[in-house]
Amino acid sequence: MSFVEYSEFIQEGDVAIIFLGHDSMMPVKVQQGAQTQTRYGVIRHSKDLIGQRFGTKVTCSKGGWVYVLHPTPELWTLNLPHRTQILYTTDIANITMMLELKPGSVVCESGTGSGSLSHAILRTIAPTGHLHTVEFHQQRAEKAAEEFREHRVGHLVTVRNQDVCKEGFGVTGVADAVFLDIPSPWEAVRHAKNAMKRQGGRVCSFSPCIEQVQKTVEALADEGFQEISTLEVLLRVHDVRSITLPLPDFGSDQPLETPTDTPVPSNASVLCKTTTPPRDMAGHTGYLTFATKPSRDNLCPMI
């Protein structure tokens, strides 16, 4: 198993995702002799997991069953231990496309945080790209590096424990894309520009507050970036439901032939297959600001 390559059978040391039913999942580190408690009973790694195919049904000790899934960055995002607020798949998907990430891309990212976006980037740039990720919190930087190793993607990423606003990304002139998710992204714009290839590249800044966006857009414009664009994306989920709607009884339009006490009410109803929205939905995550660094020959602050 690795987060950048599928495999068929579960092996020791793998991370697997236990699917318990209806959006309920948990990550598991597969180890000889280990056991995992679930609401359906115990899963014995040696017997139930190692050597089994990903996707098989595993019966737990109490008799209930679960599915064991191959990890993907998307499943990881839903199950990883949060050290910080994380980015979710909807934003990640748009960032990936708008930054034009693909196999071989060199990407700079700060802050690493809990590694949600990092895993998605690594999946997209493998096997020939590289991710330079900067995290100013020492323990988070160490935990991220450890996770990358466990997930067998360590060769694709370099974690640096420093402040991107002061010291930059640790590399210059190599990045096809830069991503910023920090409190003061405008302070890192110049470093982003330097980290990027001379021939140009894409940059993205994620900020929850509009004031941050304004400052960042100004900084990007001052540094000569073009195609500056800010947007937000939200996901709407539709819950599929079968609903029964009773039909009203307006009575008969014919006079009653034989006098009875009351006309017999009809119990007609209609079955509809439709969707309903959930009670709440994510209303805001953050604003995404994208821009293009033109080639050095073409750098000119635009009006």
Binding site: H22, F54, G55, T56, E74, A93, M97, H130, R241, T274
Partner: protein
């Protein structure tokens, strides 16, 4: 990995490259061909001068239709010193404030004035300009620039650029798939290098190209196609290196049932890749292969001709006959070779599919998604994602329901994406006035091992309590 200044060539435009022209929010995909006139936004020009320049360069279209790289200008010292008003209480919108007529402007254009200069003229000849607020002045200048500017940016094609182009220009060709929905498909489908992905799309090849871009030439993609042949116009616009096409297979869906049943014979010489199996029925060949039919019709005539002229001793006519026969032979041979190639391709694609171990499935078409999904999901290995796009919600509700009944998939989600662009300017920051009304719907899920012993498993994926609620009537 230091910046190598000499290694520019892959960042420069070459003749024959597929590029995307951009002005503002308008995109157009074209191929660089010297001395060929291109039309873009009502302007005609030659792309010759783009060759050798870096991608991302902005050009001016000068008289004569040639491109000139735009010189980086120094910062326009913000015209704060200029006059401006405080509000619009005294500005009358009577349409008479611009003193230049349309003809005057045409004259200026003919004189070869640059866009910048025309805008300057418009400002000077506007009676109300100096009464406008600074914001209104900026807005006015921006608007006029957009109208009279003639700059063109030459971009390297990418999923981002092409998806926005198709959505803006020809949404009907891509089933109104909006770019953020496409982004979600690629991510939810875990499309990455080295995997084996099945694609069924009728989006002019945009979805296929996007998948190929994320695969980077590693792994394999099988395009399942309906009807005569795979549509790939959109794929060309991506300008992939030729080795990418080595990973691309195609398979006609008319043979899917046979492949699943194990009755597809790819060795059969008379198999026609574009229609149902020949089944040893020779008459099929003449129906389905018009070329062959033609040649059969042709032969009687030429036979007659040969008979007629066989008695002639004219050497010129003889020679002509010989050449005609030679050509016919060559054509016959070429056809044979083509048929054999097609058969080989079909066999190769079938081999890729047979193992039923594909890593991902992407569906985006005008066909009803339900049968497509149920048919193609059988080719997926367990614990692999699939994504189905539909312009409409109801067909996906059906898919969801059928999959739930049938089993074999978890984490089923029916979603759609909402996107909003912002104008960010000091003291003028707000969402854009116009917003996309919809970008289509997605059904996503993950396959799991099918339990052939437990058909119609009763527990399902939902806890019991939830199931009770389904039969409750909705409140008024």
């Amino acid at each position: 990995m230091a910046d190598n200044g000499d290694n520019d060539s892959q960042h420069r435009v070459n003749e024959g490259d597929y590029v995307v022209l951009k002005r503002g929010d308008i995109y157009k995909a074209v191929q660089i061909q010297k001395k060929k006139k291109t039309v873009f936004e009502k302007q005609w020009f030659f792309l010759d001068n783009a060759v050798g320049e870096l991608y991302g360069t902005t050009f001016e279209v000068v008289t004569g239709g040639t491109l000139q790289p735009r010189k980086p200008k120094h910062v326009e010292s913000s015209a704060d010193a200029k006059e401006a008003g405080t509000d619009n209480r005294n500005i009358l919108d009577d349409g008479k404030s611009q003193k230049l007529t349309r003809d005057d402007i045409e004259t200026l254009k003919e004189q070869g004035l640059k866009g910048q200069e025309i805008v300057q003229q418009l400002i000077e000849n506007s009676t109300t300009f100096r009464d406008k607020t600074e914001f209104a002045q900026e807005k006015y200048i921006k608007k006029k620039k957009k109208k009279y500017e003639n700059s063109v940016m030459v971009l390297r094609p990418s999923c981002r650029v092409l998806a926005m182009m198709y959505h803006g220009r020809e949404p009907g060709k891509i089933c109104h798939l909006r770019y953020d929905t496409l982004a979600l498909m690629l991510t939810l489908g875990n499309i990455h290098a080295g995997s084996k992905v099945l694609v069924f799309e009728t989006c002019a090849g945009l979805v296929l190209g996007a998948v190929m871009e994320r695969m980077g030439g590693y792994g394999s993609v099988v395009q399942m196609y309906p009807g005569g042949g795979p549509v790939r116009a959109g794929v060309e616009s991506f300008g992939f290196p030729s080795h990418f096409h080595d990973t691309l297979h195609e398979f006609p869906i008319c043979h899917v049932n046979a492949l699943l049943a194990g009755t597809l014979d790819t060795e059969a010489k008379n198999i026609d890749a574009d229609s149902g199996q020949a089944n040893g029925d020779k008459s099929n060949l003449t129906q389905t292969d018009p070329e062959k039919a033609e040649s059969k019709e042709c032969s009687p005539d030429t036979e007659d001709q040969r008979m007629e002229t066989s008695t002639s001793t004219d050497p010129a006519a003889d020679k002509e006959r010989e050449e005609r026969e030679k050509r016919r032979e060559i054509r016959g041979q070429e056809k044979k070779v083509k048929m054999e190639e097609k058969r080989k391709k079909l066999a190769a694609a079938a081999a890729v599919l047979e193992g039923r171990n594909a890593d991902g499935l992407v569906i985006a078409s005008r066909f009803h998604p339900c049968p497509v999904l149920l048919g193609l999901i059988k080719f997926l290995a367990p614990s692999r994602p699939f994504v189905v796009y539909s312009q409409y919600k109801e067909p996906l509700i059906e898919c969801y329901t059928k999959l739930r009944e049938q089993g074999g998939a978890v984490s089923l989600r029916l979603t759609d994406s909402w996107i909003r662009h912002y104008q960010v300017l000091p003291n003028r920051t707000h969402p854009m006035l116009l917003m996309s009304g919809g970008g289509g719907y997605l059904l996503s899920g993950t396959t799991v091992a099918t339990d052939t012993l437990k058909m119609g498993s009763t527990r399902g994926e939902e806890p019991a309590a939830k199931r009770l609620k389904l039969t409750e009537t909705t409140d008024g």
